[in-house]
């Protein structure tokens, strides 16, 4: 386990500074290459035919006319993908089932949502490809569809899978349904807990599916050679995972597929899984040409997983002095057309900020005729936090307690048991709440029609498998390669940690993202794991390199390696006279690499454990226009325990970005379907993500409670920030209008209706 540098100890030279990131200049000059920016000689354009129906049986697909069109080089359907075994494999949280996954890439027996891929073509131009799509004849038997999660649970609801028996129910139900799974976590005795409560608060909440809204549509370029070897240029959150899933879906050996990481134009969880990669590979295999596929925004909204919608009921029992004695939550999530929403995360995270002896979280995973949900920033947690934190706000108000004081009084500490069993071991929750309470803005007075809302949120953070390669170049500069997709500047944090460890300047280190053929396996850049897990691999590789540098120095000095120490980027040993020190800088050692044994480099692969969770506490002030229901966010302050900020500017950016997404989720973002089950707003005009003029300044408060299991104390920073945001906005609006809001988004018509004295909620 790597030792930690705790504050007060050894002074950090570069970690904690704000240098320009290694990939910065190409991104401001337009030269950085994203998924859609790659081309190859002889390249074809791939396009995908999608279902116009929400639910239909495919009687037949006739591709002959499309294939006959001049300029068309290949046409594919699901028949070109190998059938997969029906079994849930891997982590229960994701419960991958390749039988579902291959049907997600391209429909087989049925189309399960509008926009479901049914066929694809590769042609010499976009125009010819579009024309070819129009020539593909699909014979559909349209079936009744169901969009809404509560309707999908009704006994008479149309079934997406005629044989789906709910998992996790004993005894197993005898009838099939759209309920894919039930899960439950429980500690203590909730009946006894509620019996001991002075006050019980309960409410039911609904949220709509929302999209990650990354600005770059999915895009890739594939080349499949006649010898069965293939190369893929793709923008994803993890090129190793894209390689693993794509090779399995296409039916090839992992070793025959090499994936190059394109710059990725936003992911937020939506680019953890492949959509276009298997299609491009098959089209390339069939046509013998490289094939590029770039999705349209419309396709991204219709077919690339959004976050789940939900209906949730939360019940909390408190004593009159504000101690929470029992909590019960039922969280029902829309999985979309195939099983497995992040409802398990929702169940595990919702009550975890608190020290509650008696807790139960029940989750239902429900399919309906919508695109399969994908991960979205702390998947599941912001949704359950919205329900839990809204109810906490009601509980605090019911006894006239300051909502942050109420949370601080009940906050979890090391030793507090989580609903899923283990006890918390890391500090930081209480510190973060206190930091927010001390923010001067928290005590500023509010005006008419204004309200202040607070919320807190928990996210696991993650560790896992990462690889890093550190190479000392001939001139003493250093190359740091990892296999972690860089979504937002992690190359800079890797370079900072390497420079700190080696004792050299940041500008002497160049960090890159290596392809799957050039470095060992790295997990996806998700779960706020990269700076933690890949960072550990980088630091360990640097330490190996330091040992090697000491050995080389010892050889040069003809000394014993034990007598050589490494300090400030130099090998040092005691000199002749008293107090004298001889030094050999890294540059000098690199110059002698040949005679001392050749290139100096080290690769380290780890499975990083000792993860510390993320925690955020936020408040926001809003003003509601009582005549229109319009909500203006006046101020937003977000405090997050980041462990240690390796690059503070990038950490602040993570917090500001997460909050902005949370505000959009709370106020205006939603999937809107028409009666035919077709998405009515598949574009950025009517799917309203916040624009610059919608948002206030977002103040990020960095709380640094180091994680002893990371060399510099880093915790994950990418996700915890969005967890409280939805509830913070909802609590602010509810307090501004004096009515509890229970539905997201809080679009103006909903707020105006709540304000109506006759019909207010």
């Amino acid at each position: 386990m790597p030792d930690t540098i705790t504050p007060g100890e050894k002074k950090l030279r570069v970690v904690g500074t704000r240098p320009v990131r290694p990939d910065g200049v190409p991104k401001v000059t337009g030269l950085a290459r994203f998924g859609a920016d790659y081309s190859l000689p002889g390249m074809l354009w791939g396009k995908i035919l999608r279902s116009p129906h929400a639910h239909a049986r495919i009687r037949s697909i006739d591709t002959s006319q499309a294939l006959a069109l001049p300029g068309v080089k290949a046409v594919m359907t699901a028949a070109d993908l190998p059938e997969q075994k029906f079994e849930y494999v891997g982590p229960e949280r994701t419960a991958a089932n390749f039988w579902h996954m291959t049907r997600g890439i391209m429909a087989r027996e049925k189309v399960l949502f509008e926009g479901h891929a049914v066929a694809a073509v590769a042609a010499i131009s976009k125009m010819v490809a579009d024309e070819a799509l129009r020539l593909i004849k699909v014979d559909y038997e349209v079936l009744p569809h169901v969009i809404d999660v509560e309707q999908a649970m009704q006994p008479d609801a149309p079934l997406l899978f005629e044989d789906m028996i709910t998992r996790g129910v004993e005894p197993a139900p005898d009838k099939p349904s759209n309920i894919s799974k039930r899960i439950e976590f429980k500690i203590g005795d909730i009946e006894a807990g509620f019996a001991a409560a002075d006050k019980i608060v309960e409410n039911t909440y609904r949220t709509k599916p929302v999209h990650q809204g990354y600005i770059e549509p999915q895009a890739c370029l594939a080349r499949f050679d006649a010898d069965g070897q293939a190369e893929l240029w793709a923008s994803s959150q993890g090129h190793f995972v894209i390689r693993a899933l794509t090779s399995r879906l296409v039916g090839m050996e992992v070793g025959n597929l090499r994936v190059y990481p394109a710059e990725i134009g936003g992911g937020f969880g939506g680019k953890n899984v492949p959509y276009v990669e298997p299609v491009a590979l098959v089209l390339s295999r069939k046509s013998g040409h490289p094939v590029k596929i770039v999705l349209s925004r419309d396709e991204v909204f219709r077919a690339c997983g959004p976050a789940a919608g939900s209906v949730m009921t939360v019940k909390i029992g408190i004593t009159k002095d504000g101690k929470i004695v029992a909590a019960d939550g039922v969280f029902t999530f829309q999985a979309g057309a195939f099983p497995t929403s992040p409802v398990m995360n929702a169940c595990m995270c919702g009550f975890t900020p608190y020290d509650i002896a008696n807790v139960r979280s029940v989750g239902y995973d429900v399919v309906s005729n919508r695109p399969k949900t994908a991960a979205y920033r702390a998947p599941g947690s912001p949704i359950s936090a919205y329900a839990v934190e809204s109810t906490m706000d009601m509980a605090a108000a019911s006894i006239g307690m300051d909502p942050l004081q109420f949370r601080l009084k009940n906050v979890a500490k090391p030793g507090t048991q989580t609903v899923w069993g283990p006890k918390h071991t890391h500090e930081g929750f209480a510190e973060t709440i206190r930091a927010l309470m001390q923010n001067p803005a928290y005590s500023t007075p509010l005006g008419k029609n204004q309200g202040r809302g607070v919320a807190v949120g928990y996210w696991f953070n993650n560790g896992g498998e990462s690889s890093a390669n550190v190479h000392v170049n001939e001139d003493g500069t250093v190359l740091v390669a990892t296999g972690s997709s860089d979504l937002s500047g992690t190359r800079a944090s890797m370079a900072l940690m390497a420079a700190e460890t080696l004792g050299i300047d940041y500008d002497k280190v160049r960090a890159i993202v290596a392809d799957t053929g050039s470095i060992g396996f790295c997990g996806i850049s998700a779960g706020s794991r990269t700076t933690f897990a890949t960072g550990i691999a980088v630091v360990q590789a640097c330490r190996k390199v330091i040992d090697e540098l000491r050995a080389r120095a010892a050889m040069i000095w003809d000394a014993k390696v034990e007598d050589v120490v490494w300090e400030d980027g130099c090998a040092k040993r005691a000199g002749k006279g008293p107090g004298e020190v001889e030094t050999l800088p890294i540059k000098a050692i690199a110059a002698k690499r040949t005679v001392t044994g050749g290139p100096i480099s080290a690769e380290v692969s780890v499975n990083a454990g000792g993860v510390a969770p993320g925690f955020a506490a936020e408040f926001c002030d809003v003003e509601v226009d009582p005549e229109t229901g319009a909500v203006k966010v006046l101020r937003f302050v977000a405090a997050q325990d980041v462990g240690r900020a390796i690059h503070p500017a990038l950490v602040e950016g993570q917090i500001q970005g997460g909050v902005a997404q949370g505000i959009g989720w709370a106020l205006n973002e939603e999937y809107i379907y028409d009666d035919a089950g077709r998405l009515a707003n598949p574009g950025f005009l009517d799917y309203r993500i916040p624009v610059a003029s919608d948002l206030p300044k977002i103040e990020a408060v960095l709380v640094e409670v180091p994680n002893p299991n990371h060399p510099f104390g880093a915790k994950g920073v990418g996700e915890a920030n969005i967890v409280p945001s939805l509830a913070a906005v909802s609590n602010a609006v509810s307090r501004a209008i004096g009515r509890r809001m229970t539905e997201l988004p809080m679009s103006p018509p909903k707020v105006l209706r709540a304000l109506d004295p006759q019909r207010g909620s």
């Binding site: 624009v691 018509p749 105006l752």
Partner: protein, 287 residues
Amino acid sequence: MRYEAPRTLKAALALLSGANGHARILAGGTDLLIGMRAGHVIPELLVDVKGIPEMTSIVAKNGGFRLGAAVSCMELIEHKAFAKAWPGVIDGIKLIGSIQVKGRATLGGNLCNASPAADSVPAMIAAEALVSIAGPNGKREARVEDIAIGPGKTSLAKGEIITSFLLPRRLPHSGGAYLRFTPRTEMDIAVVGAGVNLTLDKSGRCLQARVSLGAVADRALLVPEAAAALIGSRVDAAALENLAAAASAACRPIDDKRGTKEFRIKVAGVMARRAAEIALARARGKN
């Protein structure tokens, strides 16, 4: 698909009347290109009118203005004299999409696209603007409110082009304003829009007024009943309440993804009242 960029109105008219297939006028293209991309519109001939001088110029004459129908919104916004004379029209133009979209979008396009939610249209109707139309049978003039007859439908005959908009000389103590409601502050389509234009006499009484509403019916409405609530009044609280009530009463909205009937009816009154308050302040020479 053919593309032509005639330099004269005559040439443009000839191209349009000569077109046997489906011809479309290309001005800003901010709606047409989206329709083409989606495959909703598949023209055989595009007639780009941005090369025609009388359609791309702003002419101030005896106190009034003639605005080329193909002048971009940004040019109008940056035209100091026009912006000073008709701030209410500028209010509407400023709301047509992003700066980028306004760099291309035109008044002619915004009107002929015939969207009930077009932001410049209620402002122009309130301003009592006229349009000059050229066609195979010569030139004619029409009121802005008579062009759109339903979503995507106009009263223009085949081969007719709107060449320019005419705004009259303003009487003293006049003021106009356009307000809309959207969930976002920018980059959005009006859920409700309200344009108000009024003139006061020396004593501050409302001499004349025009009120127009957008996005509350199948086209932008001129609402005389709402104007009547102001005319003769001192535009005081009571008159403004009557205006709001009349505006709400005039709505014939639908439920759609952008708003509900109930919401549109309520908010139409609010927008009309608030627009009138701004128009009043402007008429009194404030801001």
